[in-house]
């Protein structure tokens, strides 16, 4: 019998991979230091959106036992689903590269040993967990340790900001020193980070790993309602810390180490230590999520047996795919590329992957052959369709905005 707290570990881990992975940790601080809280509304829009689609994908997984990419492959056919697979894999593997680099950077913060030396260690550790550790234990440990990022929310209070001033920043407006194009570029980037396709691949496959059935619909809903809002809240907290400390000082964030500056000011060494544990856990959790998503999507598209609930020998190609993804990640990082910058380009692939991922979920959630009495109600359909429309608009706008602003320059 699982306790209520651990029941929501899957949702928390999924949300960490979406909102608090290495790229987003830095993006949140960049946004806070440049725009204050004027983009916080985007996180809210993103949280509602990912809740809607994670809820549907979790429901489909619980009722039919089928994970999201199996549904995509079935409904879109081999060609279109193949296009989605290529784009989704690009997003997921680019993020995995950033995460392995992010673990190394976080370990450098803790140890002062150069991050390039940590990269092979980080990749090996991720692989060992993928190979040996039970899914249940994996989600509980990384989910709980990732919660120490709550240190950012604590820091906001310890910094004792002028609350009225901070609340005034919540109004959506382009700061005078920034252009509208850059503002909207970061808006699309934050929205895309909230709604990454690998979150629903991981969440729905995780539901299958956890053996969800119709009885677990409430558990799925709880995971969604706790995990993603918490991820969004922490992401806004990071931006708030940066807005309180770094924005007035005119400090521009470009590395992970600067994340800890407001923390050190607020809570000293102790809080920094707590937050670094959170940074390692969050990047590690996101690395597990993206590596597993690589295996899930490829296996579900090609009909291979998959899942950590099988022994590796019973799902060899699933494990081989994850090993290859990790080898690619180490190889890319050894070229000395900036791991954080890597994630900026994943926006391009998201533009293809997002609509082709969320449309089949919405369609299948309406199919009584699959869902029986649990088909979407009118409210979910309206929300789902509105978000599908927003996704298409954001996807179309992403690439021109990236080119015009030179990725937020």
């Amino acid at each position: 019998m699982k306790s209520r707290l651990l029941t929501v570990a899957l949702g928390i881990l999924t949300a960490i991979g979406g909102f608090l992975d290495a790229g987003d940790l830095v993006t949140n601080a960049v946004v806070g230091s440049r725009f204050g809280l004027s983009l916080a509304w985007v996180v809210l829009v993103g949280v509602v959106g990912i809740c809607v689609f994670a809820h549907m994908s979790g429901k489909v997984a619980a009722v039919s036992g089928r994970a999201t990419f199996e549904v995509i492959r079935e409904r879109l056919g081999p060609t279109t689903a193949g296009l989605n697979l290529a784009a989704s894999l690009a997003v997921t593997v680019l993020t995995l590269v950033a995460e392995v680099g992010g673990i190394a950077l976080a370990l450098q913060l803790a140890s002062s040993v150069d991050h390039r030396l940590w990269v092979p260690v980080a990749a090996l550790a991720v692989w060992l967990v993928l190979w040996r550790v039970k899914f249940n234990l994996m989600e509980n440990v990384t989910g709980l340790l990732g919660l120490t990022l709550v240190g950012f929310a604590v820091a906001v209070f310890l910094l004792g900001p002028d609350w009225g001033d901070l609340a005034a920043q919540l109004v959506p407006q382009v700061p005078v020193q920034e252009s509208a194009a850059v503002y909207w570029y970061f808006a699309v980037a934050l929205f895309g980070a909230a709604m990454t396709p690998y979150e629903v691949f991981f969440f729905s496959s995780g539901g299958v790993e956890d053996g969800w059935t119709v009885k677990d619909l409430a558990s799925s809903r709880l995971n969604v309602m706790v995990g993603f809002p918490l991820g969004g809240l922490l992401s806004v907290s990071i931006a708030a810390c940066a807005a309180i400390v770094l924005l007035p000082a005119g400090i521009q964030v470009d590395s992970m180490s600067q994340l800890t500056l407001p923390i050190a000011e607020a809570g000293g060494t102790l809080l920094v230590a707590v937050v670094i544990v959170g940074l390692v856990a969050a990047t590690f959790g996101a690395a597990l999520e993206t590596a597993l998503s690589t295996g899930y999507t490829l296996s579900q598209y090609l009909g291979w047996s998959w899942g950590k609930f099988r022994r590796p020998a019973r799902a060899p190609r699933f494990h081989l795919a994850m090993i290859l993804a990790l080898v690619v990640a180490v190889g890319v990082l050894m070229t000395n590329v900036d791991p954080i910058a890597v994630t900026e380009y994943s926006v391009v692939f998201s533009a293809v992957a997002l609509p082709l991922t969320y449309l089949p979920i919405l369609v299948v959630a309406n199919d009584p052959e699959y869902m029986g009495e649990h088909v979407n109600g009118r409210f979910m359909n309206v929300l789902g369709t509105v978000y599908l429309f927003i996704l298409v608009v954001a996807a179309l706008a992403a690439i021109p905005l990236m080119i015009v602003t030179e990725a937020g320059g």
Binding site: R75, P360, V363, N366, N376, T385
Partner: protein, 119 residues
């Protein structure tokens, strides 16, 4: 023959008129027992007159949600029909490689019957 040899392939009637594309295959499980289920037997082709993109399963049911996705797909795939496998006269040779468009088509018998695709 594999499913990809039939999916997305143009469909012609015996006189050579273009009828559409194969957008889905329908199987029945009534063959000899296999590992888990009875072996699948190809029962029919789903042919859509205007597009070779997926109908996303709406051809099987009377589902009208979510709006406007379902109505748009239904309009785009209007006239979709089901043709039984015995009504197929010949299929392109899977080993022939890419030929001219008109030879690489599935040809139906003259007296073929077009069925409603719903289940």
């Amino acid at each position: 023959m594999i499913a990809s040899d039939l999916l997305d392939v143009p469909v012609h009637d015996e006189a050579g008129a273009h009828l559409g594309w194969v957008v889905d295959l329908r199987f029945v499980l009534d063959g000899a027992p296999d590992t888990f289920l009875a072996r699948a037997r190809l029962h029919a082709l789903v042919v859509s007159p205007r597009t070779r993109t997926s109908f996303m399963g709406f051809e099987r049911s009377s589902v009208r949600h979510p709006w406007p996705v379902a109505p748009i797909l239904r309009w785009w795939h209007r006239g979709t029909f089901l043709v039984h496998w015995p009504d197929v006269a010949r299929v392109p040779d899977p080993d022939a490689g890419a030929g001219p468009e008109d030879t690489a088509a599935i040809v139906l018998r003259a007296e073929f019957t077009a069925y409603e695709p719903g289940l």
